[in-house]
């Protein structure tokens, strides 16, 4: 069982991928913090930060959690339920956005 995921070993140190991903995660975090301090337009900032967060999440799930090396079945099992989260959020947004205007 310990050997079953060794197929992708390619001669470089086995932990090399983890170091590369680790450095990228730290670099993206620095970019995120910097983006806030640069003072971008509000919507642009939200777009940039959410894209970078999704990128970080993909790196963690793909390489640290090995999802990239799993079967498509498992990848779909994990990703498809997340559509529910999007539906949940888009469902409450219209009401939430109009609430402050109604109070005025």
């Amino acid at each position: 069982m310990a050997e079953h995921s060794e197929a992708r070993h390619d001669g470089t140190p086995w932990y090399r991928t983890y170091i590369v991903v680790w450095v990228w995660l730290l670099v993206i975090t620095v970019i995120e913090i910097a983006a806030v301090q640069v003072g971008l337009a509000r919507l642009l900032l939200i777009g940039v930060l959410m894209s970078l967060s999704l990128l970080k999440a993909a790196l963690i799930a793909g390489y640290f959690m090995h999802l990239r090396y799993e079967r498509l079945n498992l990848v779909l099992l994990v990703l498809i339920p997340l559509i529910l989260a999007v539906i949940l959020f888009t469902g409450v947004v219209p009401d939430a956005i109009t609430a402050p205007q109604l109070r005025r």
Binding site: M1, A2, E3, H4, S5, E6, A7, W14, Y15, Y18, I19, V21, W22, L25, L26, T29, E32, I33, A35, V36, L45, I46, L49, M50, L52, S53, K56, A57, I60, A61, Y63, F64, M65, E70, R71, N73, L74, L77, V78, P81, L82, L84, A85, L88, F89, V92, V93, D95, A96, I97, A99, P100, R103
Partner: protein
């Protein structure tokens, strides 16, 4: 190659729970952990959606920098959690290679990272509460021109508290795994399954960090 892999699994396993097919080609513990993580991800998604809705409903939101130290507390917390995720990945890799020494060492490093994170979170909660933050609202001095809706501290405590609870459970889980590994009583698989949980806690923090502190 994947098919050969499945055939090999079927030929070598004898448990009735393996069934006739292995559609996911992973072991049961790993599949169960993934299923748990999906449900947990949706719980966090619900909390964060609720946060987003409350924040939009409030209409006003104070600049987080007025209450939290992003550069010297929250930023470093994020760095520590990412580093502990990397050490966890190395522990899993070492366990798969049968390198018990490295596995134990990196599991303990991961536990240390988790404890550091929790310590800094305790520090942050303490200073926020001292400033006047309560679960039901803000009772302290508010800077000129800043409005603090009660949802601001409420969502903060609930979401970071729920995440902190996950980190605490993770530290205990990893400590048990590390102690078992130190005694030699562990399998590469259980280290990997524990790793999935820990990486997930890091993954959720990516969004909490962005949504609660940066945006």
């Amino acid at each position: 190659m994947a098919h050969a892999h499945v055939r090999e699994r079927q030929a070598t396993s004898h448990s009735v729970w393996d069934g006739g097919e292995s559609p996911f080609a992973v072991s049961w513990p790993k599949l169960m952990m993934w299923l748990f993580l999906i449900s947990d991800a949706l719980t966090f998604a619900a909390l964060l959606s609720g946060y987003g809705a409350m924040r939009m409903t409030a209409g006003v939101w104070p600049p987080q920098g007025d209450f939290f130290n992003i550069n010297f507390v929250v930023g470093p917390m994020t760095f520590i959690l990412i580093c502990s995720s990397a050490t966890m990945a190395v522990a899993v890799g070492a366990a798969r290679r049968g390198d018990a020494r490295t596995t134990v060492r990196f599991l303990f490093l991961t536990v240390l990272g988790g404890l550091l994170f929790l310590g800094m979170q305790a520090f942050e909660w303490t200073s926020f509460i001292r400033e006047g933050a309560r679960l039901t609202g803000f009772v302290g001095h508010i800077p000129e021109g800043v409005q603090v809706p009660p949802m601001f501290p409420a969502t903060f405590f609930v979401i970071t508290g729920f995440h902190g609870g996950h980190v605490t459970s993770g530290v205990i889980y990893l400590l048990v795994t590390a102690l078992r590994a130190a005694r030699g009583a562990y399998s590469a698989e259980e280290v990997e399954v524990a790793g999935l949980y820990w990486h997930f806690v890091d993954l959720v923090w990516v969004f909490i960090f962005t949504l609660l502190y940066l945006i």
